[in-house]
Symmetry: C2
């Protein structure tokens, strides 16, 4: 296979792009992303649901996840609810409800659960709603908030307090088989993908060749 023709861009080229083209283009550059629906409720119990592709691992002990909220993004209710109640859920999106998940990004006056036909599940006293259709569900408690001065983006960090996951997707070494769980990955603003395993490799050491983990 020969390499294809490459195109080069510099910062001045980004400035010359139309805003729509630039948003699509730049949003793809980081690579594939996670895809979570964030479930919240306000102080009166009114539920809210919004898709986020900017969720990432911050630490294992204590278990922490980061969530990036763009200042100009639709789900401003999500942030208000997290700050009001201190709790939220993260729910991996599967192909069988990806269209409903995408649709939660529309600006609804009512709860996105109801508007998009997804199930708000309150379970075991956790104050925020899980997405009943999701196979990987997490309940988080707000920990800290950072304001990224450079463009007003807000980084929310939370403690993972609850996890519900298909029992047969947990390997003996703790690895979670997200492909088997049907978790999707996303790219740009609007593209969704399934993942197909290439390999899992043992901890790398300088004097040893790469070896596969089953």
């Amino acid at each position: 296979m020969t390499k294809t023709t490459f195109q080069e861009f510099q910062s001045a080229d980004f400035a010359a792009m139309s805003p729509y083209f630039r948003r699509n283009f730049i949003n793809c550059l980081s690579g594939f992303k996670s895809l979570n629906l964030v479930g919240t409720a306000d102080a009166e119990g009114q539920t809210n649901l919004a898709p986020f592709s900017q969720v990432f691992h911050v630490g294992a002990s204590p278990a922490l996840l980061g969530l990036l909220v763009r200042p100009d993004s639709v789900p401003r209710h999500t942030l208000a609810n997290i700050e009001a109640t201190g709790f939220y859920t993260l729910n991996h999106v599967r192909a069988d409800f990806v269209k409903e998940a995408h649709q939660t990004s529309a600006r609804y006056a009512i709860s996105e659960f109801e508007a998009c036909g997804l199930t708000a599940e309150f379970r075991n006293g956790f104050p925020a709603p899980f997405v009943g259709e999701a196979w990987v569900q997490m309940g988080l408690r707000f920990a800290e908030r950072h304001h990224l001065a450079i463009n007003g983006t807000i980084l929310v960090i939370g403690y993972i307090e609850r996890v519900q996951i298909p029992a047969d997707c947990i390997n003996p070494d703790g690895f979670i088989d997200l492909e088997k769980a049907g978790s999707l990955t996303s790219a740009g603003l609007d593209a969704y993908y399934e993942a197909k395993k290439v390999g899992r490799y043992a901890y790398a050491k300088p004097d040893q060749p790469v070896s596969e983990i089953e």
Copy 2:
């Protein structure tokens, strides 16, 4: 298809896990991740290369990417070099060099480019080395650094200054076809995946059904 059996975990269960099991388990929870090799050079021109799965979009205008560096992670040279020179590259990993990419995480005394058989490409005066084998390459300039007090993680934000990408992977609307470019996604500490498109959907509006983008 019926749902499988679910297993529930609470924070106390995380504490009871072995550190190895917990690291694998918690690192998978965020979902699928990007996969970039970060190329740097020190003030003397000695090159360094390390894999990062914590790269994410921060803004389109100006074009900004975030990079999360765990305090206990191997690639501490990466951070030192970024701070010393102000420049670094991000290079999407493809399946045809994923083993070499994984191997760059080993603790080498020499450059990981040389040790792992990847090509350090200095191009057009950019001060940090690109990975010649990568189809999606970016050159970044350091913008700001945040210390996440909660566990000592460091968030590095940089301006995207250069992009090189296969010309036929750029759609007319600016969307980059990362599946066609062969960019991989990752999960946990050591698992790599190819992405297969499920769909791309138009901007969601409350009164319209989900519609596919070609």
